[in-house]
């Protein structure tokens, strides 16, 4: 969505203008702030994007496991809107990247099936003036904390982008006959296992496809979340999310960590 900035209300202009004149805002803790500075970056602004989205309806078959493509599409689309708007704000500030990105879905009483998708993070800029933007010329995004960001920098890897894959899947109910025939027995329920496997596979593959598009060598900090949102117990969203990274050209020798026992409990 290239015209996202134009969609923003008038006040955005003033907020971003003040940030361009040297004031910075950041939701980093003091520790994270100092570590981001330590890694050679300066925070430039607290950036965010959001979209309030109404997800459509898709009919499900009681006894058939299937991906609900319309819902998958909605979850993708809404998150993409929020992420892109956040990236646009960071780009407008001349940032090299966004750290500590958090993606959230909030349901309110605005009506059925409506949810707010929100992405927030702190835009940062390299202090040496060399651009750290990713292959696509956009600011990198990453859900790593300030601590993880510094540690990653020590290993010679650089974040490229927050990548995700999602899949909303309807898991078939078991027929009455099936349920009766397994009563009292230890058996695997192959249709459930199969459905969960397939849904996870789809989500993970989509995440890897996104990272391949960024030319990344790996994905760190991957989390796999399973949520039913408001769809009832047999419909689940599988969300795989992580930070795609590439290795820098310089060879890095990591210092051996010292071992400690902390005296506080």
């Amino acid at each position: 969505m290239s015209d996202a900035v134009n969609d923003l209300p008038e006040a955005t202009g003033r907020r971003l203008e003040e940030l361009e004149h040297g004031l910075f805002t950041s939701d980093l803790s003091v520790n994270e702030f100092l570590l981001v500075k330590e890694a050679g970056f300066h925070p430039v602004g607290f950036v965010m994007g959001s979209s309030i989205y109404h997800t459509g309806i898709q009919t499900r078959k009681w006894s058939q496991s299937q991906e609900l493509t319309k819902l998958t599409e909605a979850m993708y689309n809404a998150r993409e809107l929020a992420m892109t708007r956040m990236e646009e704000e960071a780009a407008a500030l001349g940032a090299d990247g966004v750290v500590g990105v958090r993606l959230d879905v909030n349901y309110y009483e605005w009506g059925k099936d409506a949810a707010e998708f929100i992405a927030v993070g702190t835009a940062v800029k390299a202090e040496d003036g060399v651009s750290r933007r990713n292959k696509l010329g956009k600011p990198f995004t990453s859900d790593l904390s300030g601590q993880d960001f510094w540690t990653l920098a020590q290993t010679g890897y650089a974040p490229q982008g927050l990548v995700m894959g999602t899949c909303v899947y309807h898991i078939a109910h078991r027929g009455l006959g099936q349920a009766l025939s397994t009563t009292g027995q230890n058996v695997e329920l192959p249709n459930f296992t199969q459905a969960l496997y397939e849904a996870r596979e789809l989500a993970m593959t989509r995440m890897q496809d996104e990272s391949a598009r960024l030319g990344a060598t790996g994905i760190v900090g991957v989390r796999l979340e399973e949520k039913s949102h408001q769809w009832g117990s047999h419909t689940i969203e599988f969300l795989a999310i992580g930070t795609a990274v590439t290795r820098g050209d310089e060879a890095v020798t990591l210092p051996t960590p010292t071992t400690i026992i902390s005296l506080d409990n």
Partner: protein, 277 residues
Amino acid sequence: MSGTSAHDELRALVRDAVNALAVAPATSEVRTSDLSIDEELNLHAMGWEAVELVSGYSVFSIPMGVWSWGLGEISAAAEAHAKAFSAATRRLHHEAAAAGGHGVVGVHIERSVFSTHIAVSLIGTAVRPVGAGRVGDEHVFVSDLSGRDFARLVLAGWEPLGLATGASFVYAPRRTIGAAIAQQSQNVELTNFTEAIYTARELAMERMQRSAIDLHGSGVVEVKVLEGPMSFAAHAVGFTAWGTVVRLVAGEHHRMRPSLAVSLDDPAIVFDAATLG
């Protein structure tokens, strides 16, 4: 008539309260502080000490009926919010200065928005360089950073200046019944809500930045935001942001040069009864 006497009693009570706020509390040798031992140690290590637990509190009323119908920003609510915050902060400054503090750290911020009023409560520990003399109200800084964070920030060459806050409440137009029905089965963005949230967010963030600039800060750290529809008016959305304003005082940022360490502690195992169910 009992109604009148209750009214007079209330008046007398309010008058007493106002008088009490104007008088500086008597200083005693006994010091209270809600800092942990760690934080006290951190403060002492950099030559500061805790002086007294101080607080500031304020309630501001909101005119009736502003939440239900309207268009654009609900400015009466934003104004009440700004006034409540600044009155609470002023009282916190006053108490801290009277106790001999140069600043207040670890401020707990509690804010509640009701349909009729906004309440702000600030409680923190006044601190000063060991044995330092008194300063005026206006020279006291206020920060929601912990004593530990305060110490680390000062060692890196920065100083906290105060709290920056901003809030905005915006009315989200309702969709027409026709639109709501037409969109029932579709994937669509609800632009009326997105725009309302954006307006509230931009206004609130801009106000927070404005108050940071007024304090001559160069940045705001640990920004916290609260957002969403108001519980008592589903078609009004609110956005509040606050954080500690900081400024670089040393010539340049002092690097910490952390080293990598692996803790050999086993993670604490907490018995969780929920896992048994």
